[in-house]
Symmetry: C2
Subunit: 410 residues, 2 copies
């Protein structure tokens, strides 16, 4: 038995994060898609670490890993995810999992501390097969039919095949046990430049913005790129390009101060160099934490589409794929994070919304939930150059563990 | 021995074209990529038909099928191709092959006629693996290294694998035998609306326009679509869209009366809904039969790129992939086609350039060459709805056979 209670060890946190980076390394980041071999190895790594924190490890039928405790007293759930976007960064996900593991090691291992941190590693937060499949499954929002239909957006492999390859076919999915947890806490890199530009250490997340996703399709007339005169063309690709430029020109007049919008993918049909595209498709999304702003922008988008359809020569249709209500973070938990920041980070924190989606927004539908951000160098994420200073990683871990302690103690 | 010399039989031509449409049928067209099973079956079909025209059939190491004659006298080479674009029309290629077969049946089978038509079916005119690989191989412009590097643009299968699957590995490629042929004649659907709108039956091709192909790459900064403020984004996809719109606005001031330009493919990198594209690429081509016009437009394109690079936030680079000199058609052969049209189509012909590329432009580098067009309904091609009225197909066949006769007789 140690003479002094366990405490947050920055070196151990950095060593764990680097051990996870060594699995599926890509340049200074990782390539660890959901259910890839590096992802599987990362889940195994976690399952082997959980007993050090007094937790028994199990993986459920959707690929979520849970570390559960038999310690008496209140229990706080904490975690994040271990898969990555394709060819992306080393901290997006692992940071929150390792912080949760560290909090469990420190607090569960202290016999004088009443209560325990339980760890959750949510599967497919990055959406290779769907949208927050792991955490949505835990809160009871995923049907078997949705899993039947899910496919890897890069390889086309079905989720059923992937689960079979992982040895998870037929295994039950774990859902939230009412009353078991006082709430959920998740740490994450900011993925923006608010903390860095303000020389701050901690972001106290107030809400997670909603994401509204649209598929916008243009229909023209496929034809030969050499024999069809410019005057008679119905070029769906050109119609799409004009629409993108029109959005860029007109959205700023109507948006809110924090609204963002993105065309992430463009596909021309058939996409051959000598064929005028008869079809074109763009994936478009809008994010804001105010649904009224989104409603105004969606109306503008539909007005612009009406104008294209009235003018020709191509037609456009807008399909709404996803409506994401913003999730509010628990205010008591926000106070706990802020208190921990004052104690351990000189109060260098700010309350801010999250522009990115996180598993915490799903957990917030069934229990109090909150999030803590650490700075991202240059605001970069979803890219292999994503990084955070080691000192910021260590400070974040100390604040996170203390926040867990405060939540469980309160 | 027949009492009367053989003559063009429209019914036989239509039956042959429909037999080829029955191989690899897609809706009312065909899906017959190079070296696909339907393509292989179509080449077999042709090889079995050639003996009816007094020709012995052989396939060479690049997939070209030749029907050669031992008949004394001058020889005219005629043909086109049998593979199709993906999910495309039934006449683009097969029309010219069947017309050549019909001319060979009529003229080679007439003992009183001095000379013969030999048939060529060029492989991969549609560019699944490269650019005019079959006809360029015949005129001596394809190296083994090019074939080593060639891949199917849709499936990624290497050309070497495809040739092995066809049983053609290690087979020699046939090149033009100097002096063997008086020239080359090819028939094709117009793929535009000039003949239809002028109520004409025959296009006498004067030249085949050159195609200049460019890859235009935009570099921005890949980042998270939720956390990166609009003001600091470097969205390569938006930069590409603006460039497309700028081309649409500025090219008309500088182009010629028949110039056409097309963006056939757009790719965003990484192409995920929640990631701001850090890279974007467009395949862009310009066609004209006047290199001076192309030179002006290319200069404009580079000026526009300089403007983008000076202004930011993204950078653009232009890579020229292909420079296509226009090919002039033989004037004596043009006269022969026009003469045949006067005799058999009421003179309803027009002299016109071809906006599309054809194997004839490759043949024109080693022998006199010419082309004949028949009308395309609605000007549509490279799409499964591509079609030509049966009566126009039959008239075209009669004119083609007569033109062959005139060329060989002259």
């Amino acid at each position: 038995m140690p003479d002094t209670p366990p405490r947050t060890e920055g070196k151990r946190v950095l060593a764990d994060l680097n051990a996870l980076r060594a699995i599926g390394t890509y340049k200074t980041g990782v390539h660890k898609p959901t259910f890839s071999e590096p992802h599987r190895q990362s889940l195994d790594w976690l399952a082997q670490k959980l007993p050090d924190a007094g937790l028994s490890a199990a993986i459920d039928g959707v690929g979520n890993v849970f570390g559960t405790s038999t310690k008496p007293g209140p229990k706080l759930l904490a975690g994040s995810h271990l898969e990555s976007q394709n060819y992306a960064g080393w901290l997006d996900g692992p940071l929150g999992v390792v912080y949760a593991l560290e909090a469990a090691r420190v607090l569960n291992g202290d016999p004088a501390f009443k209560g325990a941190v339980e760890v959750a590693c949510w599967c497919d937060e990055e959406g290779h097969f769907g949208s927050f499949l792991g955490s949505r499954s835990f809160v009871g929002q995923v049907t078997e039919a949705e899993i039947d239909a899910a496919r890897d957006r890069t390889s086309g492999r079905t989720m059923r095949e992937a689960l079979a390859d992982m040895g998870l076919s037929g295994r039950a999915r774990v859902t939230a046990e009412p009353g078991r947890h006082v709430g959920y806490l998740e740490a994450h890199i900011e993925q923006g430049d608010t903390l860095e530009s303000g020389r701050l250490a901690i972001g106290v997340v107030t809400s997670i913005v909603g994401i509204w996703q649209y598929r916008i399709n243009f229909a023209g007339e496929q034809n030969h790129a050499g024999t069809t005169r410019m005057a008679v063309r119905k070029d769906a690709g050109l119609a799409l390009a004009k629409f993108c430029v029109a959005i860029d020109q007109r959205f700023p007049e109507t948006c809110g101060s924090r609204t963002v919008w993105t065309t992430g993918r463009i596909t021309l049909d058939p996409g051959a160099p000598s064929i005028i595209p008869g079809g074109a498709e763009m994936l478009f999304q809008i994010r804001d934490d105010d649904p009224a702003v989104i409603a105004r922008l969606e109306q503008l988008l539909r007005t612009m589409a009406d104008e294209v359809n009235a003018k020709g020569p191509c037609t456009v249709t807008i399909t709404k794929l996803r409506t994401g209500a913003p999730a509010m973070m628990n205010s008591g938990f926000q106070d706990a994070i802020e208190g921990a920041s004052k104690a351990l980070a000189g109060g260098r924190s700010i309350r801010m919304p999250s522009g990115a989606g996180h598993d915490a927004q799903m957990l917030a539908t069934v229990m109090p939930a909150a999030m803590l951000f650490v700075p991202s160098i240059g605001g970069i994420s979803h890219h292999w150059t994503e990084n955070t200073a080691d000192s910021d990683i260590v400070t974040g871990a100390e604040v996170f563990v203390d926040a867990c302690s405060r939540i469980l103690g309160g």
